[in-house]
């Protein structure tokens, strides 16, 4: 009976399918990196920048179709340029941040429109707009795995280097400045990491899932966890769970209808993430009775640097 149940959940061929393997590996990596970086993005209130970078990096993707260079180069390069632009016109100040992001996004999308038009005209790849926006996890080539792993390690390494100052400056800029943190530098590194993580996930799993995995797991984790490290860990876990769950459901959906038209994986992943966010609101509301302390204050007050000051 258990066997029959398992077989109905894991449809035949799930574990032997090459595209499913690749999707599970690359989707998993993107989910973990996005979860870790995204927790900071949510804490800092930079969801818009995170989403904008994924849209703009898609313009880089269409440029790479056109120039015949590696898509990874196009995505990461364009995200880097956009992050630089946002930094220059003042995305770090809370006032005007929204506008600065919007202007860069508008210009980037305009560029994307032109590049996709050229793609369609000169290379007759009319589907580029859809591939870039919606992505297709089951169509990733397994040869990209090493590159994706390398870039992910770079992104995670950068977060690790600025971990403490970044948390401090995310909770309170003033506090960080008092402690001698170079806030501006820390924030620039965070924005660069964000660009890298987002470009990576936009390329592999599409712009929609990139934003979903960046914001959803981090926001859900921050509602239940009361320490930053625990929130980051939960975000990575939620991201991984929803991605793999989505892949499983998408694979299963192929058998749901008689005409064998599978539902898209991005639909399932996004739905699972949204459910996780709604559930986290309930759980978080209940657990605040027991642990009323706001996030991160606990961690900071128990840190060794605090004792040297007091």
């Amino acid at each position: 009976m258990v066997d029959a149940l398992l077989r109905s959940v894991f449809e035949p061929g799930l574990f032997s399918s090459g595209p499913v393997h690749t999707a599970a590996i690359i989707g998993g990596i993107a989910a973990v990196v996005s979860g870790v970086v995204g927790t900071f993005t949510v804490m800092r209130g930079q969801s818009f920048a995170g989403h904008a970078l994924s849209d703009v990096s898609a313009a880089g993707g269409s440029a790479s179709f056109l120039l015949g260079i590696s898509p990874l180069l196009g995505f990461v390069g364009m995200a880097g340029i956009a992050a630089g632009g946002m930094e220059m016109i003042g995305v770090q100040r809370a006032r005007g941040r929204d506008l600065a992001t919007g202007i860069v996004l508008g210009a980037g999308l305009g560029l994307a429109a032109l590049l996709l038009y050229f793609d369609a005209t000169f290379t007759s790849t009319t589907g580029a707009a859809i591939t870039v926006l919606f992505g297709s996890m089951f169509a990733i080539s397994s040869s990209t795995i090493p590159l994706v792993v390398a870039f992910s390690l770079v992104a995670l390494g950068m977060i690790l280097v600025v971990y403490r100052p970044l948390i401090l400056s995310s909770v309170s800029t003033e506090l960080a400045q008092v402690r001698g943190v170079r806030v501006r530098l820390t924030e620039s590194i965070h924005l660069l990491t964000l660009a890298l993580a987002v470009a990576l996930s936009a390329m592999t799993i599409g712009a929609i899932l990139s934003t979903a995995l960046l914001i959803g797991p981090g926001a859900a984790a921050l509602r239940v966890a009361h320490r930053p490290a625990w929130a980051i860990f939960s975000a990575a876990l939620i991201g991984l769970g929803t991605t793999w769950g989505g892949i499983l459901l998408a694979y299963d959906s192929y058998y749901w209808s008689s005409d064998h038209r599978g539902w898209p994986v991005s639909f399932f992943v996004v739905s699972l993430i949204f459910i996780a966010y709604l559930v986290s609101g309930r759980v978080g509301a209940r657990s605040t009775h027991r642990a009323p302390k706001p996030l991160a204050i606990e961690e900071i007050s128990s840190s060794p640097t605090q004792s040297t000051r007091s």
Partner: protein
């Protein structure tokens, strides 16, 4: 360029630009650029849903953008506003991915929904678009005082009995209306460029709200007219020009602010020097 089949385009584009310019002023002073981007992008699957059900695309766009506005309003009551916006956006796009997998929509059609199509305005779309535009401007006119107050100082608004969250919802619904009317012309990705670039520039030139609103609409009009004209001549997508001119007008505004500030300080120093002498 001004031949018969382009007449609809010019009429609709003019209405869209003027309305986007007016509503955009509030988008900028409220810091709602993300919502102004998320609603059009999230509404675009509505067109796919409409074609799946065989109804008019505008109807699908209105429903989806309204659902988006209500969703953002509800979710941000208990949570961060930017997180709520991002999540509603991806949920709507996830639904879009599902609908698109069910329809056999051509890729070029999706492209023109995303990036705009100058020549794609059918005669039966002109009426509804103008109607939606009139409703949006009327709504802004009716809400003008409370909306302005609650945008500039939510606390002061609350004291006078204006609910911030209700105002936010009303405003999001107006943005949703503009979205539905503007999307077929300038495309899902560029509607928001029109709602952000021109008003940002207008704000740099004047501090008076009424003047800024008129100026914003004027800049939006010039942006759209120029974009369509150049797009018609060059055959390049209209979205590219709208996005480029939007960013360009923002930077002109920034430059103006910088210049007038530099001039003001120089004038001040001149006066001080005179006094010293």
């Amino acid at each position: 360029m001004f031949s018969g089949f382009m007449a609809n385009t010019w009429i609709v584009a003019t209405v869209v630009a003027a309305v986007a310019g007016v509503v955009g002023f509030f988008v900028v002073i409220r810091g709602s650029s993300f919502a102004a981007h998320a609603l059009p992008l999230g509404a675009f699957p509505g067109a796919a849903a409409a074609s799946l059900l065989g109804v008019n695309a505008i109807f699908g766009l209105v429903v989806f953008s309204a659902v988006g506005a209500i969703g953002i309003g509800q979710l941000s009551k208990r949570g961060k506003r930017d997180v709520a916006t991002a999540l509603i956006l991806v949920v709507l796009l996830g639904l879009g991915a599902l609908f698109l997998s069910m329809t056999s929509e051509y890729a070029p059609e999706i492209y023109s929904l995303l990036f705009g199509e100058v020549l794609g305005i059918a005669k039966d779309e002109v009426g509804p678009i103008i109607g939606l535009g009139v409703v949006a401007v009327l709504a802004i006119g009716l809400l003008y005082r409370p909306l302005m107050l609650s945008s500039i100082s939510p606390e002061l608004g609350e004291v006078q009995g204006i609910s911030t969250s209700k105002m936010e919802l009303c405003f999001l619904l107006v943005v949703a209306l503009v979205t539905a009317m503007a999307l077929p012309v300038v495309g899902a990705l560029l509607v928001f460029s029109l709602m952000v670039g021109p008003p940002a520039a207008a704000r740099a030139f004047t501090n008076r709200p009424q003047v800024a609103i008129v100026l914003s609409a004027a800049v939006a009009l010039v942006t759209v007219w120029a974009s369509i004209a150049i797009s018609y001549e060059s055959n390049w997508p209209v979205g590219f020009f709208v996005g480029g001119f939007g960013a360009g007008s923002y930077f002109i505004g920034r430059g103006w602010t910088w210049l007038s500030r530099a001039y003001a300080t120089r004038a001040d120093t001149a006066v001080e020097l005179e006094h010293a002498a």
